[in-house]
């Protein structure tokens, strides 16, 4: 397993969260790759939606898009519309999953992609929300995938670009965010979810060979451990082949005929 990169580990672990026959609103990069892996494995009827106005993208192996607004992202789509329209589908409740990366995430699942330091006197001005604020506010269940580093997992983000559970408890609902829940955070070290009442992040699963202590050291806040802590299965050869073929462009058979494969959903949370 030495040859599995952190990115492969994250994308493949995250891909297992996606059940068949669901609609996922995926950010570009790892979320999109993870969604594509799921579509080629346990979720052939997963519909991938991208904010560029794209519904049902299939992706051409070896020609992965760099953005959510380009022809490569639209390959094989069933419907092309505009950006605002996609977010309005989300606001209506059509999208089972919202799937995001994060530059900085805190114990309540709030994401910062705006600024390191203060917004008035920024140390680093980051690109900004893009669609992340809307995806996390509007989709039915949110998955976050990012590398596990102390500078990324902070007690409190410098700036809430995209609201998770805000300050925990019912503060998300109180703020007017009536819908959606933060389902899981996937990293190269672990799988986290949120305690149902305090809404604090907790450790749910460990990547193969990783210890609780190591995860805690890489996390900038105290991370409670659930009673049923599990070890996550390492990427299978099958998963790795799908991932690498998508990325590098050898032939992957497209799951064009839904409902013929009805493999049980692999869902570790």
């Amino acid at each position: 397993m030495n040859d599995v990169t952190a990115e492969e580990l994250m994308a493949i672990t995250a891909s297992r969260l996606l059940a068949d026959h669901k609609v996922v609103f995926a950010g570009v990069g790892m979320p999109l790759l993870a969604s594509a892996v799921a579509r080629h494995r346990q979720a052939p009827n997963l519909t991938i939606v991208l904010e560029g106005g794209i519904i049902g993208t299939r992706l051409l192996p070896g020609h992965l898009p760099i953005s959510t607004n380009e022809m490569r992202a639209a390959y094989g789509a069933q419907m092309l519309t505009d950006i605002t329209d996609i977010f309005l589908f989300a606001q209506r409740g059509y999208f089972d999953y919202g799937f995001l990366g994060a530059a900085q995430v805190d114990q309540y699942g709030n994401i910062n992609t705006s600024v390191i330091g203060s917004v008035e006197h920024p140390k680093v001005r980051l690109p900004g929300s893009g669609g992340a604020n809307d995806i996390i506010s509007l989709c039915n269940e949110i998955f976050i995938v990012t590398q596990h580093e102390p500078r990324r997992f902070v007690q409190q983000v410098d700036f809430i670009t995209s609201p998770g559970y805000l300050s925990g408890g019912d503060s998300r609902e109180t703020a007017g965010l009536l819908f959606g829940k933060i389902g899981a955070v996937v990293t190269d070290l672990a799988l986290m979810d949120f305690e149902p009442s305090s809404r604090r992040m907790r450790l749910r699963g460990l990547q193969a060979g990783v210890t609780v202590e190591h995860v805690q050291r890489q996390t900038g806040f105290d991370l409670p451990v659930t009673d049923d802590l599990e070890e996550l299965a390492p990427p299978s050869p099958d998963e790795l082949e799908i991932y690498r073929t998508l990325r590098d462009g050898l032939a992957v058979s497209q799951p064009t005929t839904p409902d013929l494969t009805s493999s049980a959903t692999v869902r570790p949370v």
Binding site: E70, M71, A74, F87, G128, N133, D134, T161
Partner: protein, 317 residues
Amino acid sequence: MVGGTFREARAEREGTERRVTDKRMTASQAVSLVSDGDHVAIGGTLYSRTPMALVFELLRQRRRHLTLSRPLACYEVELFLATGAVERIVTSWVGIGLPWGLAPIFRHYVESGAVTYEEWSHLAIGLRYKAGAMGVPFLPGLSMLGSDIARTVGLQTVTCPYSGERLAALPALNPDVTLIHVHRADMFGNVQVDGYRHMDVDMARAARRVIVSAERIVSQEEICAQPSATMLPHFAVDAVVEAPHGAYPHECYGAYEADVDHFDAYVKSIREHGIEAGRRYVEEHVDGNPDFAAFLDRVGPERLTARAAGAEELMPR
């Protein structure tokens, strides 16, 4: 927040002539509709269907004190920053693209406080243009709430008089001039695009003036042959500029892919030479050519043809 009231926007729209006339002109003539201090909305998104022929002309004409808005902004914003053209950027994301990391010129101007980056969520930008296009002063929405971006821009809420629910109120965004690039336009300004529409429709209908560049100028008969494909009618368009490859080095759906090598070269140069490299880019690629066609000539037909072939491969068949 920028912009006048929705009453002013309506009054301007009422007062605008809707002449059915030949609106073809050069990019230079068209861009002279933009004044110093204007709010200019740039069509497309990130590096897709950006009206680069018009953007280059706007850079050439060195307008000052501009506000620029877009759904997601790419390196073109850095060129406006490096040449001192812009005071405020209204968008949800500024970068070049995922593989190229942060945008250094953007960072410099915003971190130093020289230029304001008014950050909204992607949907918020969309609903702001849509409110402007619908002729109402705001639209309700369910994102932005609880976030620090809401606090920073002074987002207000509105209470539904039926349900009592409190929602985000996204204020109308009415650009002074919107620039868009399309696949086909007739001389009167009836325009059609293929593929995704980004936020072009709302951005144009929210604006005081609209300048369109088109891959091809076609007859009105060709427009009328597919009336459902028409994205904007003539009375929503003020100027039509013929500009084949007019989104290059960005992509145009079905016509050509983006030229990522061009981005690579740009990023390499600014990583080495900073803001000065942004100015040099404008000197070389904009000022150094009499017009956008001359820029494309220097890019060379091989490169354009390769990008067209890449696009062809991705189309449904």
